[in-house]
Symmetry: C2
Subunit: 334 residues, 2 copies
């Protein structure tokens, strides 16, 4: 049995969607158990089936709008997020899923789960939709605003193994997010990463990738520093949102437009679903000594279920040990 | 009369769309003259009305796919782009519009038009659509990958005056593109810019702006360094393109979907038009001693006409002298 710790109190719709997502996960995956960390009194009304689900009582939560999330997680070791993270460190559970505040989760994971010896920097790696109907790994989405090329290579190796083992992609390819496709484009960091990746024996480097192909990329993994990737990810979100608003304004114009809109309603809903990050799963934090998956703050039960399934797959495929071995072997070779 | 120099040979559809755009501009704006720089033999077949339009013969063009655009413009002073730029410097024309290769145009503008004394760095400022149906100024979209906060302030002042005079926005507001809205977010550069802008007597600084509001921003101008803004701009382009593809796939599914799509066809076309950058106009290069507007490489005649109109308005409003005075006065005050 794989034991998944669920932070039941973090997120916009906690604990309802978290509890429902956990029950869905139990019904779909027969090799997992879920431990819900939270307040029994608010969880129990939603817990209509507690097969393979237990509750561990917590005290207090890390607020989503927390101004200083790092202090919050430091000073609140009995919060649902802190207890869930600690349970992975102690071996009581195998993975954590939380849709709580990202900065608190990263800080908490550093303190309570710990960093892999071989990886000097952690990374957050969300999955984004693409036009082929599959997913692209985007990293680092916010962990490190300024970073060395060498550390980015470790993150790339993690993504490579994740893509192979969890996404089942044969020989996954990786590209560097940049302002032009030619070699030599970008800042000093980009040029260094390009040189470092181009003849790498493990990575299948396709070179620079321009953001204008971000939803139709020539590779499975897109990498940049935490600042740039975060800007790109939030720009996708903003453009999708903005376009959705403009599309709705335009489509509802005129008589035929209104009828067309009615007839297209189901398809538009499917479209919206396809673009929704929560349908895809959570963002994994790379570089920790345990499996930590961040589900979107606005996750509904389906999003939470997807994140639990993702965490289960990472544990099942033993991704973290494989990464540790790969980087260690690599360092020895140098 | 305001004289606009048009590089008739640069762009994906040159010279047809450039010539047609120029003729449209003449018919719409009665205070301009156009000088087309290019090869008479290929221009003349499209020039069905030469009222207030003259041709200046050029030799050779700067290829759009030019591997080394900077050398190309340096070594080809008789190209349509180089001659058009030189005509502004000599005072023969008041502004240049070109949809030729961006890097060549920037380099050529530096060499042949010259930089304003007060501005240490030029910037490219495209206009992007927003959900309100107006336009947001985005800068710098590629000029300076690494830049000082102080130079960004000069660019911001240019944008401020441009927004006031050309876009007719009363008290234009400006935001810093960043990964979070709170003060203190981002890299060292971002923190410096925040401090520099926050009590500025001219700029109306709204603070950090997250890219998730990029099509529905809380301000009229969005600023960042050239690398970041370029990434954001191309991500908007990529998301719009990718979403368009996914939307089409989804909308055409099933019987009702197909009928709905037919009925919505006109509205979808309007939507596409609204999102097309060329409907909006060109990107102005800030910081030069003359007016240089870069139209999209893929501009059709309407895009080119819009860029000509924009160039005319910048000249008419005497934007460059106003910027120079503002920055000079400002330096004296310090």
């Amino acid at each position: 049995m794989i034991k998944i710790a669920v932070d039941a109190m973090g997120g916009d719709f906690a604990p309802k969607e978290q509890v429902e997502g956990a029950m869905k996960a139990i019904s779909m995956l027969d090799d997992i158990e879920v431990v819900l960390f939270g307040e029994k009194s608010v969880i129990e009304p939603y817990l209509t089936n507690d097969e393979r689900i237990t509750i561990v009582e917590s005290e207090g939560t890390i607020d989503m709008g927390e101004k200083d999330p790092i202090s919050a997680i430091r000073s609140n070791r009995k919060s649902s997020m802190a207890l869930a993270l600690s349970s992975v460190r102690s071996g009581d559970t195998d993975a954590v899923v939380s849709s709580g505040a990202t900065q608190a989760l990263i800080a908490g994971a550093h303190i309570l789960v710990g960093r892999l010896k071989s990886m000097k920097r952690t990374a957050i790696a969300p999955l984004i939709p693409n036009v082929k109907g599959t997913q692209t790994i985007l990293l680092d989405a916010g962990g490190n605003l300024e970073i060395k090329a060498e550390y980015m290579r470790h993150q790339a190796l993690f993504a490579h193994i994740y893509a192979e083992k969890v996404l089942k992609i044969n020989k996954p390819t990786i590209g560097l997010l940049n302002i032009g496709t030619e070699a030599g484009k970008g800042r000093d960091l980009d040029k260094e990463v390009f040189e470092l990746f181009k003849d790498d024996p493990i990575l299948n480097f396709v070179g620079n990738v321009e953001p204008k192909t971000i939803l139709n990329p020539p590779c499975d993994i897109i990498i940049s520093d935490g600042f740039t990737t975060n800007i790109a990810m939030k720009t996708i979100e903003g453009t999708a949102k903005g376009m959705g608003m403009i599309l709705k304004q335009e489509l509802s114009k005129g008589f035929f437009g209104k009828i067309g809109l009615l007839l297209s309603a189901k398809n538009l809903k499917n479209f919206k679903k396809k673009m929704a990050p929560e349908e895809i799963g959570g963002a994994m934090i790379y570089g920790l000594r345990g499996v930590v998956v961040k589900a979107q703050g606005s996750s509904k039960s389906i999003g939470f279920y997807n994140a639990i399934r993702q965490a289960r797959n990472v544990v099942y495929e033993d991704v973290i040990n494989k990464v540790e071995e790969t980087i260690k072997r690599d360092v020895k070779d140098e």
